[in-house]
């Protein structure tokens, strides 16, 4: 649905030049929720802004639903944008318009008639559970409610893509969860493709099917969350399951990543029994990702090389992802 290819974008010139995007290539499949994580200044906002052409790259192409956004201008560009909704960290609602009128702005822009605008605005407000606030002004709403209005406005014209630039960064943890769940729900119900950027791992964990990790204008990792978690030295995996430093030990250390049902099996007990290893648990972290228990355990395996490699092979044969740390 979205495909970014070899995009470069610099700001400034000479010594002060910053490569906000440095040869970025990535793609988002139709209907998935894709998260881009990275530290401040990594280029996340710049990336998302090239998707709806708020920013023009120096080179490279950005395709959304088959259209090359970098080639569009004028009316064609505006029409392409009707199909790409966007929500913002600071909501960006018009203070002089009521909630309903804010949502209607989107429909005024697409040229819908008065009656149609009203019906559609109320319908979409119902969807974000804010119909009761239709006649309130943004200043009278909580942060979470404002973001719901932002979502309603973005989705009023029935776009197939939703872009989210740190949409929950100004919200408290509870509200963040509600908004993320709403986005997830809407993406399922409406078949929306969602690209969201964030610096919070929690966001990825909660709603993303796929993710990319960005740093200094480059994409370091890119793929489905499950795949990234079971990729050696995955930054995402390390960030999601922080196990701390490895303590000094002469024994072998391995890390096992569980996804799905493997968590139910008594893997460690079995290992001790079948291989006669006195397994030590150095650390463990478990998270619920998409409602599935996913976790990483760091084990210390005493014994000679043969015993250890036998144990590792056995674990792998059970479909577990095992990384030998030392």
């Amino acid at each position: 649905m979205i495909s970014v290819s070899r995009v470069v974008k610099s700001y400034g010139s000479g010594a002060a030049q910053v490569r906000a995007l440095d040869d970025v290539t990535m793609s988002v499949k139709k209907g998935e929720v894709f998260g881009v994580v990275g530290q401040s200044g990594a280029g996340k906002s710049t990336l998302i802004r090239t998707i709806n052409a708020l920013e023009q790259p120096d080179s490279g192409t950005v395709h959304v639903g088959g259209r090359d956004m970098t080639k569009l201008a004028g009316r064609e560009l505006r029409q392409a944008r009707h199909d790409i909704g966007m929500i913002f960290q600071h909501f960006n609602l018009l203070s002089g318009r009521t909630v309903r009128a804010n949502v209607e702005l989107s429909l005024e822009i697409t040229g819908a008639g008065r009656a149609q605008r009203r019906t559609r605005a109320l319908e979409i407000l119902e969807l974000v559970d804010l119909r009761g606030k239709a006649d309130a002004y943004p200043a009278q709403l909580s942060g979470g409610q404002k973001q719901r209005v932002g979502i309603a406005r973005a989705l009023a014209s029935n776009p197939s893509v939703l872009l989210s630039d740190e949409a929950t960064s100004a919200l408290d943890p509870d509200t963040t969860r509600q908004i993320l769940d709403l986005i997830r729900q809407l993406s399922k119900d409406l078949g929306l493709t969602v690209l969201l950027i964030t610096h919070e791992m929690d966001v990825v964990k909660r709603i993303c099917d796929s993710a990319a990790v960005m740093s200094q204008g480059r994409i370091l990792e890119h793929g489905s969350v499950e795949k990234l978690l079971t990729t050696e030295k995955s930054l995402l995996g390390q960030a999601l399951f922080p196990l701390g430093d490895i303590p000094p030990t002469s024994n072998a250390v391995v890390e096992i990543t569980f996804t799905g049902m493997a968590t139910d099996r008594p893997v460690i007990a079995q290992l001790a029994r079948q291989h006669g290893i006195d397994v030590g648990i150095l650390g463990a972290a478990v998270e619920t990702i998409h409602g599935r228990q996913t976790g990483r355990t760091r084990l210390e395996l005493p014994g000679d090389e043969r015993t250890v490699s036998g144990a590792v092979a056995d674990l792998r044969s059970q479909g577990l992802y095992v990384e030998v740390i030392k």
Binding site: H82, L105, A139
Partner: protein, 233 residues
């Protein structure tokens, strides 16, 4: 000197004051209309033709944007820096060319509008500048045209500030109109000058001053009230 014991003294005073007030309303009203029209346009252009502004490239040309911005800025600064009394005199030939004479309420409109436009333009500029950039971006992301963004975002969100600016401008114009009146522009200034000063009638002077104070109070309060009602921040 007017005879205070003349039985028609108060009736004459009322007549004269009303006629003067009528002329003042006319001059201020028309010049206000012109001020709002051109001042709004100039103020909006001042902000939007800046680098990265909405109209940074009018007709696709950045050079044109820069030119419009520079010229407006200079013109507005000149307009704001000339004291009104001098501007009035400087404009006499221009006024005569435009309306055929430099005396009377219609002629007074010219210097008033020319002083009012740059004054209001700066106030509009300040108001528009206060509209958060994110709002423009949000409208762009929805696929809005520049005209829609200009009217429904920039100007619409600045309305409370514009209402305040408008009342400040009206007050300024009333003050200037009295100055034009004193040199032949009619209105309340003319009454105060001819009756109050030249004919030593404290009653006329007093009546004009009271009326001016009331008018200024009225318009300022109206502006404040409107700004409060229109703002939902």
């Amino acid at each position: 000197m007017i005879d205070r014991n003349d039985p028609y003294f108060w009736a004459d005073l009322l007549d004269t004051i009303l006629k003067g007030a009528g002329e003042t309303f006319y001059t201020v009203g028309v010049s206000l209309l012109l001020t709002v029209l051109f001042g709004l346009a100039a103020g909006v252009l001042l902000v939007t033709t800046e680098a990265h502004g909405l109209l940074a490239r009018p007709l696709g040309s950045r050079a044109l944007g820069v030119a419009v911005n520079r010229v407006l800025d200079v013109v507005v600064n000149i307009g704001r820096s000339i004291p009104f009394i001098i501007l009035m005199i400087l404009l006499i030939p221009f006024t005569r060319l435009l309306v055929g004479s430099f005396i009377g309420p219609t002629a007074a409109i010219v210097p008033l509008a020319i002083a009012g436009i740059p004054f209001f333009a700066r106030l509009v500029e300040i108001g528009i500048r206060e509209v958060p950039k994110g709002l423009v971006e949000a409208a762009q992301s929805l696929g809005a045209t520049r005209w829609t963004i200009l009217t429904k975002v920039l100007v619409a969100e600045a309305v409370p500030a514009l209402a305040l600016g408008l009342s400040t401008t009206v007050v300024g114009l009333i003050g200037y109109s009295a100055m034009v009146g004193a040199v032949g522009g009619g209105g309340l200034g003319d009454v105060a000058f001819r009756y109050g000063y030249q004919r030593y009638s404290p009653e006329y002077m007093f009546a004009v001053v009271i009326l001016l104070i009331l008018l200024v109070q009225l318009f300022q309060s109206l502006g404040n009230f409107a700004a409060r009602r229109l703002s939902h921040r």
